[in-house]
């Protein structure tokens, strides 16, 4: 993983290498360098499989973190590339021409996080949330409980107990 990092660093400006396991590492890089790094990893390093493309909402920092996880099938290694993009009017370059499956991930990210991927095929089609208007639900400032209460009919009679006090009452009815 260190050698791969060194080789990749010759080509792009990389952040620190976070090695979570001997066969799993992550690195952050600027948005402009992503395509070059992905192409190099796919064509020259043997990381031919796009495992996933996902996003993390760093609400406090005003950023989305996109993770492109690649896998080397024969060596059994995974390498993740992380890109931070501004949360406001989030937009990212599409990589559907590198991996066609990325189009599906990008479609999901557009729907769930509201990140635009111009040029990605079918990216604006509804994926799971048909006819959804308003804030994308995976953004952290989306209040899912409030949305559920406002939109879906509720059946009264549901009780919620605090586990600590409830178990105290059950186990020590007379008090401790």
């Amino acid at each position: 993983m260190r050698e791969l990092y060194a080789r990749l660093k010759e080509r792009c400006a990389l952040g620190e290498l976070t090695q979570q396991r001997p066969n799993l590492g992550f690195v952050t890089l600027p948005r402009e360098q992503l395509r070059q790094a992905l192409t190099h990893l796919r064509d020259s390093e043997g990381y031919t499989h796009l495992v996933l493309l996902t996003a993390v909402d760093w609400l406090e920092d005003g950023q989305f973190q996109l993770t492109y996880l690649l896998s080397h099938r024969t060596q059994g290694r995974d390498f993740g590339l992380r890109v931070l993009i501004p949360r406001m009017d989030a937009e990212m370059d599409s990589i559907h021409d590198l991996w066609p499956t990325a189009a599906t991930y990008q479609r999901e990210l557009r729907e769930m996080f509201g990140i635009q991927f111009p040029g990605s095929p079918g990216v604006n089609d509804d994926f799971i949330l048909e006819g959804w208007t308003g804030m994308p639900p995976y953004r952290r400032d989306f209040d899912t409980k409030r949305f559920s209460e406002e939109n879906y009919n509720h059946r009264p009679g549901r009780e919620t107990r605090d586990p600590t006090t409830y178990m105290k009452q059950q186990l020590y009815p007379g008090g401790l």
Partner: protein
């Protein structure tokens, strides 16, 4: 408006509770969250619903307007009971002996129906079997949570089933949302959208509980109390209003028969 739907919650061999009649909340349209990042939704008209020219096998071209020609414009109607009570009782006895379930697993609860098809639990000995299409089924088991997207398909399936038809809500999610009670995308009260005859509580209910629930449904059918399809026809507008309140991209006929 009052919901006069008798919904029973079954767990294992005994009936746990009976739902009281409840008021329908006058609810506002879904509010867009403050500061929401919103996108404009342009609903593409579905190609199969558009008026078009079709060439028949004999070479004759004719115009087809699917919403008028392929669907019945009339809403569902109440099916009257037979002319004599004893005849209706006989019909109900026969109906209770042929429960044909639509093989549509709407949520994770569908996994509990599989053991019923095996020799260990063998639901077939109770006159219950699974069918691949709504046209051949008379019992719709809503097996677990229903997302809004699935609800739309479930409504279409339910309306395509033939009368008399029954609905069983399987698992806590159909009763009050279960573990998805605060989800952005799942409904919490099934009986607002489809007429439910029996609820089987649990997360998940065991196959034995399902068998018990089916037996309970049979008792209701024999007693002439499983009138869900007629309730749906009587209160069609109420059900449609509820359905359309949460299904925002309504691109199908109101009644999908």
């Amino acid at each position: 408006m009052k919901v006069e739907l008798e919904s029973r919650i079954v767990e294992g061999p005994e009936v746990v509770g009976v739902e009281p009649a409840l008021d329908l909340q006058g609810k506002a349209l879904p509010a867009v969250q403050p500061g929401a990042y919103s996108r404009t939704v342009t609903l593409m008209p579905r190609a199969e619903l558009e008026r078009r020219m079709v060439k028949g096998p004999d070479g004759v071209e004719f115009e087809v307007e699917p919403l008028r020609d392929y669907y019945c414009e009339a809403g569902p109607t109440v099916m009257p009971a037979a002319y004599l009570k004893i005849v209706e009782d006989l019909f109900n006895w026969a109906r209770s002996r042929s429960i044909w379930i639509l093989g549509f697993g709407t949520g994770c609860g569908a996994i509990e129906m599989r053991p019923l098809m095996t020799p260990r639990f063998d639901a077939y000995r109770f006159g219950i079997q699974w069918r691949p299409t709504p046209r051949q089924a008379n019992l719709f088991v809503i097996s677990g949570y229903l997302s809004v997207k699935t609800l739309k398909r479930a409504i279409r399936c339910y309306e395509q089933m033939q009368n008399p038809k029954y609905v069983v809500g399987l698992g806590s999610c159909t009763i009050n949302g279960g573990m998805y009670w605060d989800s952005y995308n799942t409904i919490k009260r099934l009986d607002d959208y489809l007429p439910v005859d029996v609820y089987i509580a649990g997360c998940m209910p065991r196959p034995e509980a399902l068998l018990q629930g089916f037996e309970d449904l049979k008792k209701l059918i024999r007693a002439g109390k499983a009138e869900g399809a007629n309730q749906y026809a009587e209160r069609f507008d109420w059900y449609k209003a509820n359905q359309k309140q949460i299904i925002h991209d309504w691109d199908m006929p109101d009644y999908n028969w």
